[in-house]
């Protein structure tokens, strides 16, 4: 029987040009890693069709310990106040190796 440990999964949907800024925040707030997939859809910013790359969205996934979530959320909140469109939602998830989510990634 494999033991699972609780972590938080933070999801962010936003425009692709914001990727570098988000990654900078991740580094600053001690995120251990991230996954980004290209996305399209529709919502409060209208249709994001990703036609010829002109209005591409990204879906960003970050797993992190609960005690680090709030600082990162604060930084996202500041971006939203500046006018960036971000859809943010947090899941409770269970992971196999919690130590993976403690140390920041190397480049």
């Amino acid at each position: 029987m494999v033991t699972l440990y609780p972590e938080k999964l933070l999801n962010i949907i936003t425009i692709d040009s914001l990727e570098d800024k988000l990654v900078d925040s991740f580094k600053k707030y001690g995120v251990s890693g991230y996954t980004i997939v290209r996305a399209r859809g529709a919502g409060s910013s209208g249709l994001q069709a990703d036609m010829s790359g002109f209005d591409a969205n990204i879906l960003v996934k970050v797993i992190l310990p609960e005690d680090r979530v709030q600082n990162l959320l604060d930084s996202l909140e500041r971006k939203i106040r500046k006018g960036y469109h971000l859809t943010v939602f947090v899941h409770d998830v269970q992971v196999m190796r919690p130590e993976k989510f403690n140390t920041p990634w190397h480049e």
């Binding site: 800024k21 900078d24 209208g46 036609m51 790359g53």
Partner: protein
């Protein structure tokens, strides 16, 4: 007569085909990044070709062209900004973002103009190509300055409550957005500028024998790739025109009037200040008239998040680009003929 010529250019017909395919809800889809791949090719090819020609050109003339490109690049967005504020239909943030698009240039429109001139066998100077590279960036900077100014004005209007916000923003993590030096770096290192300027330098310093081997890449397939590019862009434009209602008639009118204004200014600069012939003058008019849709939108999304992307994308991609490709280019050519003669 000449406008009929333009409409019967294969590249323009493919633009129309893309537009129609979208309107009749065809399931035709290009890979998401195709337009970007093709525009890298187009900039490379035109850069190599132009650099090779420019190596033989007059340095003073090249420098004068650069100077006028900077003057146009810095002044056209300011004119656009004032024009937009006069309409009373947009807030200063949107006006700043939109005008940055109109001060910058569209390589797609420029290349269509070259195809048009080639088709009717009109000779043109190579200098406008340097102007194309130079004019990508200044308008981005002007747009950002106008947006910063508008942001301060809005913050002052909102009064004391915003000072707290400001303090919070000051400790934000994205310092790379705040420094003016960083903004300059972003404006001048954007992909199109690097590809075009780099290819021109390579074209200028390469051995002629090496350049001759590139002939099929630079010349022979060029028009075919341009067709493919405009085919794709026709679909993108048709998708954008759907947002027409959101933009409204006054702004849509701006999308036609502003290129005409920029075209006239560009034509006079080309003919009178730079002394180009009909071909070169047409190309400078096209530079003045065209609006960016590749370099500027991501820059504005990042730096002016308060502005509504539907406005600037619909105006530049859905209205001004098709207008220039179909109606504008022959018009600027006629204008150039009238002024130069």
């Amino acid at each position: 007569m000449s406008s009929l010529n333009n409409l019967l250019l294969p590249a323009v017909l493919f633009f129309a085909l893309g537009f129609i395919a979208r309107l009749i809800k065809s399931d035709l889809r290009f890979p998401p990044d195709l337009a970007k791949v093709l525009s890298i090719y187009l900039l490379m090819a035109i850069g190599l070709h132009g650099g090779y020609e420019l190596a033989k050109a007059d340095l003073m003339m090249a420098l004068t062209s650069i100077m006028w490109a900077l003057i146009l690049g810095f002044s056209l967005p300011i004119a656009g900004y004032l024009g937009l504020l006069l309409t009373g239909k947009v807030n200063p943030m949107d006006a700043a973002a939109i005008s940055a698009h109109y001060g910058s240039v569209s390589a797609g429109t420029f290349l269509t103009a070259i195809a048009y001139l080639d088709n009717i066998s009109v000779e043109y100077e190579t200098y406008p190509l340097i102007m194309l590279a130079v004019m990508e960036s200044p308008a981005i900077i002007v747009g950002l300055i106008l947006a910063v100014k508008a942001r301060h004005t809005l913050a002052a209007k909102e009064g004391s409550s915003s000072s707290e916000d400001k303090a919070q923003m000051a400790d934000d993590d994205d310092e790379n957005n705040s420094g003016f030096g960083a903004l300059l770096r972003e404006a001048f290192t954007n992909g199109s500028v690097v590809v075009l300027t780099g290819s021109m330098i390579i074209g200028a310093i390469s051995a002629p024998s090496g350049m001759a081997k590139l002939e099929p890449f630079i010349d022979e397939i060029f028009m075919g790739v341009l067709c493919l590019f405009l085919f794709d862009m026709g679909m993108v434009a048709a998708r954008r025109i759907g947002d027409f209602r959101q933009v409204g008639p006054v702004l849509a009118l701006f999308g036609v009037v502003m290129p005409l204004f920029g075209g006239v200014v560009g034509a006079y600069v080309g003919a009178n200040a730079l002394g180009y012939g009909v071909g070169g003058t047409t190309l400078v008019a096209v530079l003045g008239a065209s609006a960016s849709y590749i370099a500027v939108p991501p820059a504005m999304r990042l730096a002016v998040p308060e502005a509504n992307p539907s406005f600037y994308l619909t105006l530049s991609l859905g209205i001004t680009f098709p207008f220039n490709v179909v109606v504008g280019i022959p018009l600027y050519h006629n204008l150039a003929q009238a002024i130069v003669a």
